[in-house]
């Protein structure tokens, strides 16, 4: 088997070629927004009946139960579980994917379940700053207002007409999680969407 650490040194994230534009693409001022790709996060897909023994086993292994309701995330021990559907979750984790997959498969026991390393399926674009929500609201049909979209909320929805997960991790921090093949499109759309939030140049400047 090939040495995994060597392979990891060779891999390129979906937004590798846009790294400079993303780094320089943020705006400052009152409505500041910064963009960043958070590449290579462990993302493990879990599908299991929510009321099964396997689901309860996975709840225990994660240290916090898989959320049973739309929008909710649960966090424990470096794992965050995102609700994608009534029997589908995405676990974003600090644990290496192969290790986590093994743990969760064991935890599911005999219950029919699917635990898959989906880390390469999506990448994560982080938007931080007071203007972050306004940028997303330009292209996302979901209600992102804090009265319903509180810290820790994550939903599957669309941005700029393509499917993404939108995940609020902090008051002014959102993660947009597109499929790898759509990442460059989403990043380009975000870079364009951010531009109008730059401070207006002072007179005579």
């Amino acid at each position: 088997m090939a040495d995994l650490s060597t392979l990891q040194g060779l891999r390129r994230s979906p937004l590798h070629d846009m790294a400079t534009e993303i780094r320089d693409g943020g705006v400052t001022g009152e409505r500041a927004v910064q963009l960043a790709e958070l590449p290579f996060l462990t993302q493990v897909g879990v599908r299991v009946a929510p009321d099964s023994a396997g689901a309860r086993g996975i709840d225990e292994a994660l240290g916090a139960p898989l959320p049973r309701k739309v929008g909710v995330t649960s966090q424990a021990g470096g794992h965050t579980a995102l609700w994608l559907g009534p029997d589908e979750w995405l676990v974003v984790s600090e644990t290496p994917a192969d290790e986590l997959v093994e743990q969760l498969r064991a935890a599911a026991g005999d219950t029919p379940a699917q635990v898959l390393d989906l880390s390469a399926n999506r990448t994560v674009i982080e938007l931080t700053g007071p203007g972050a929500r306004s940028v997303l609201e330009k292209g996302c049909p979901a209600d992102l207002h804090p009265r319903v979209f509180t810290d820790g909320t994550a939903i599957v929805t669309s941005l700029a007409r393509v499917p993404v997960i939108v995940w609020r991790t902090d008051a002014d921090a959102f993660r947009v999680v597109p499929r790898a093949s759509l990442a460059q499109y989403v990043a380009a759309w975000l870079l364009d969407a951010v531009r109008e939030f730059a401070p207006v140049a002072a007179e005579g400047a």
């Binding site: 739309v70 009534p86 589908e88 049909p141 669309s158 499917p163």
Partner: protein
């Protein structure tokens, strides 16, 4: 743009959904036993009412689950949404409720 209540995800824009046509059309138990007319009926003929219609939708841009809705094809008002394990709503009751609500 319609807004449709997904039984699992709540109210979302129509653009997150795909339409699945008439609901509750069962696959024939023994297709080979059907006459050509019956097979044509199953394959090509669907109700197309002007009024309340039980139909299928799938939340492709969300939880990816199929569900059923009763929607009025004149007003586009969604009168009910229900999953396959929920009891089927009685359409005449829904219409009465809707008329009461707007009266």
């Amino acid at each position: 743009m319609l807004q449709i209540e997904c039984p699992w995800c709540g109210l979302r824009d129509e653009t997150e959904y795909k339409y699945g046509g008439q609901a509750h059309v069962a696959y024939p138990e023994d297709p080979s036993a059907l006459s050509d007319e019956e097979w044509a009926e199953y394959l090509f003929f669907r109700d197309n009412p002007k009024g309340p219609f039980a139909e299928r939708w799938v939340h492709t841009g969300g939880c990816r689950k199929w569900f059923n809705a009763v929607r009025d094809t004149r007003t586009y008002e969604v009168l009910a949404v229900y999953t396959n394990s929920d009891p089927r709503p009685v359409i005449s009751d829904l219409v009465a409720d809707s008329a009461g609500a707007t009266a």
